[in-house]
């Protein structure tokens, strides 16, 4: 964790001197450059559940031990770089943002036992950058985390602002240390951002119904963490941040499979848990051909090696579970007829599976002998 303000004194600033951060990474995906204050407040209330914080402050009072981290922005104006949710909660409790009123806000203000004072404990920094490094600790690995794209954009900002002179390995190591994570994670997030930005700059390859709001960055990075998917679009591996050989056609295909919706809002990928299936498909050229022809992931999956792998995996799980059952039988003294019935069912099912596998193997051997 970087050191911030430990040596600095806490100052009490008036609420009307404090303003929301127009470059808040949390909202970077919604606004191109500057973030209008009214829009920020609306998002804080509707998307970030600031009411929960209002309830807590209204009940317990404002915890002065956690000052807002602010940067100077003119003579008596300050930008809150860390603590924007708390700023919104305080202003709402004091009735300073009536325009953004919702029934829950009015209720919380009416029932609050403690209306916060006009002055708020803050630590003042000369520049926004001085606070920037602290944000990662709090919003990437700390208590109040951002969404994946905000995190990735923040990591990129850290990299460019503080570590641009270091080698890539050193950059990743340093950023990981700052945020309390590991270099592969940082690399995967930055790789995801490279691929996302490439798509964005290319207007999402002209795909119908695919825009910035339709591409979930978390789902994209989860897919790209699969080496076969990363390699399919021309990355060397899931941590290829430069992505020099990114293949636009293949990236377009991947985005169309994952995010392009049909008239009813369905996607070829469907739920994100199907990323495993998609990985199995892209690993096999004939499965990819099938996916292109049919647009049906389940059908394409039949042509991949994934089914056999899935069967082996489930078989291993069944084996493990049965061994657990066997272990437990030595500790239990009272069994019921229902237990016995269940075991009979398992035995019968196992015999059916055994018979089916034996027949398949025999048929294959006979065919080879012929």
């Amino acid at each position: 964790m970087p050191t911030t303000g430990h040596q600095k004194e806490i100052e009490h600033l008036l609420l009307n001197q404090l303003h929301f951060d127009p470059k808040n990474p949390r909202f970077s995906r919604y606004f191109a450059n500057e973030q209008p204050e009214t829009d920020i407040i609306e998002r804080m209330i509707k998307n970030e559940n600031v009411q929960e914080l209002m309830g807590s402050i209204g009940e317990q009072g404002y915890f002065a031990g956690e000052p807002l981290l602010v940067a100077k922005d003119g003579k008596s104006r300050y930008i809150v770089v860390e603590g924007n949710r708390r700023l919104a909660a305080l202003k709402l409790l004091r009735g300073e943002l009536i325009k953004a009123e919702l029934p829950s806000i009015a209720q919380l203000r009416q029932t609050a036992k403690n209306i916060p004072a006009q002055d708020v404990p803050c630590i003042v920094f000369e520049k926004r950058n001085e606070i920037l490094r602290y944000l990662g600790y709090r919003h990437i690995t700390g208590a109040k985390r951002w969404d994946s794209l905000s995190k990735a954009r923040y990591l990129e900002e850290l990299r460019n602002t503080f570590f641009a002179d270091l080698s890539l390995t050193e950059q990743l190591k340093s950023i990981a240390q700052e945020i309390g994570s590991r270099p592969p994670y940082v690399a995967q997030m930055l790789t995801g951002l490279t691929v996302f930005e490439h798509a964005r700059q290319n207007k999402f390859y002209g795909l119908r119904r695919v825009g910035e709001d339709d591409v979930d960055f978390g789902v994209l990075t989860t897919a790209l963490a699969r080496p076969v998917i990363a390699e399919y679009i021309g990355l060397e591996n899931p941590r290829d941040i430069a992505a020099e050989h990114l293949n636009s056609d293949k990236a377009k295909q991947l985005f169309s499979w994952m995010f392009a919706e049909d008239e009813q809002g369905y996607t070829i990928l469907g739920d994100s848990r199907n990323i495993s299936k998609l990985a199995a498909v892209v690993a096999n050229p004939s499965a990819v051909t099938t996916l292109k022809e049919t647009g049906d992931l389940d059908t394409a999956f039949l042509f991949s090696d994934g089914q056999i792998a899935a069967f082996a995996k489930v078989l291993n799980v069944a084996d493990k579970k049965l061994r657990e059952v066997f272990k437990l039988t030595s500790d239990i003294s009272e069994f019921t007829d229902e237990h016995l019935q269940q075991i009979d069912n398992i035995v019968n099912l196992s015999e059916d599976i055994q018979s089916r596998i034996r027949k398949t193997i025999k048929r294959r051997k006979d065919a080879l002998d012929d």
Binding site: D213, Q264, Y266, D271
Partner: protein, 327 residues
């Protein structure tokens, strides 16, 4: 007299990993919220506080080398879950159009349920029937009965009078078959111009259940010779029981009760939106004509079911609930 509350455990997350069920949960929270909206930020808080994690989570597994740290992984899981829910909600916005009593905009779902809109009320009735986990047990019967009524109305439109005759077989309908299960089957056999295959002793004494059959439709074809078109239907709210309940009205389950000269059609009415985000069925379906939420709404629109037929107090109560998350 104090009325038993309609909702319970709304702070508890869904147990199963069906995206449509999570989307239902989010819709229910938006519908009942004092602000008439819900978003990712609220779910994040609930997930953080809630220890009742999904039991059968089927997660994307990573190679050891690619595994993210525990916190990162938890975040990605939430991010993926919300992405799946959002895709599902967006699909509903496109599929149900004006019948969907919500609006999805900028990652926030807003309620726009209008009690004067018959399709909105029908949708909410189906949403409640899909969400019995969040309904107080003593209020379940009104909701399951409402599903049977919805099924009956739709079935009547699919098998229109006067050619077809549609009758409730379930336990809660005064205008359907009466008496014990054996009596009901005997009366049904007479209607269908065939004979009963079961004996009275085959049933428990006083069994007045429905034997897994809620609705019956048949076309008499102008004579009493049998060999006529017949359809049986079952309605069910439970997602977990769907696998076997979809076959309760199947010919295989009725051959030993009634002699039919030709296998009847087997319908199942489910209030759930049984679709994956890929558009495939979310459940493995057997020999059944599945009428899920999408199809019920489609049929209701197609046949313009009169609004007054969707008039249940629990629907109004749900639409008028304004639940504070914080007070």
């Amino acid at each position: 007299m104090t009325r038993i509350p309609l909702f319970q455990n709304l702070d508890t997350l869904p147990r199963l990993n069906h995206t449509h069920q999570w989307a239902d949960y989010i819709e229910l929270l938006a519908l009942t919220s004092v602000d008439q909206l819900y978003s990712r930020g609220y779910l994040q808080e609930t997930e953080g506080e809630n220890e009742d994690v999904a039991r059968d989570m089927e997660d994307v597994d990573f190679d050891e080398e690619n595994i993210l740290s525990t916190n990162d992984e938890g975040d990605e899981k939430l991010s993926r879950r919300w992405a799946d829910i959002k895709t599902c909600l967006h699909s509903r916005q496109l599929r149900f159009r004006d019948a969907w009593p919500f609006e999805l905009k900028d990652d926030v779902i807003y309620t726009k349920a209008n009690s004067d809109n018959g399709l909105h009320r029908l949708y909410v009735a189906l949403l409640l029937a899909s969400s019995l986990r969040y309904i107080t047990k003593k209020r379940h019967q009104a909701i399951t009965t409402s599903l049977e009524t919805i099924g009956y109305r739709v079935f009547c439109q699919l098998m229109p009078a006067p050619s077809w005759i549609v009758k409730p077989f379930g336990a809660h309908h005064a205008d359907g078959y009466q008496g014990t299960l054996f009596n009901k089957i005997t009366q049904l056999a007479i209607d269908l111009n065939t004979r009963c295959a079961a004996e009275q002793d085959d049933f428990k004494q006083g069994d007045s259940g429905d034997g897994g059959l809620d609705l019956v439709a048949y076309h008499p074809m102008g004579d009493k010779l049998g060999h006529i078109p017949i359809a049986f239907a079952q309605c069910g709210c439970s997602l977990q029981d769907l696998e076997h309940k979809q076959l309760e009205a199947h010919p295989a389950n009725w051959r030993n009760k009634i002699h039919l000269q030709h296998p009847h059609a087997n319908y199942y009415f489910s209030p759930h939106d049984l679709r994956q985000n890929s558009g495939r069925w979310d459940e493995r379906l057997g020999e059944v004509i599945m009428v899920d939420r999408t199809r019920i709404i489609y049929l209701a629109k197609n046949y313009t079911l009169p609004a007054e037929q969707v008039d249940w107090s629990h629907v109004d109560e749900a639409m008028n609930t304004r639940r504070s998350l914080y007070a």
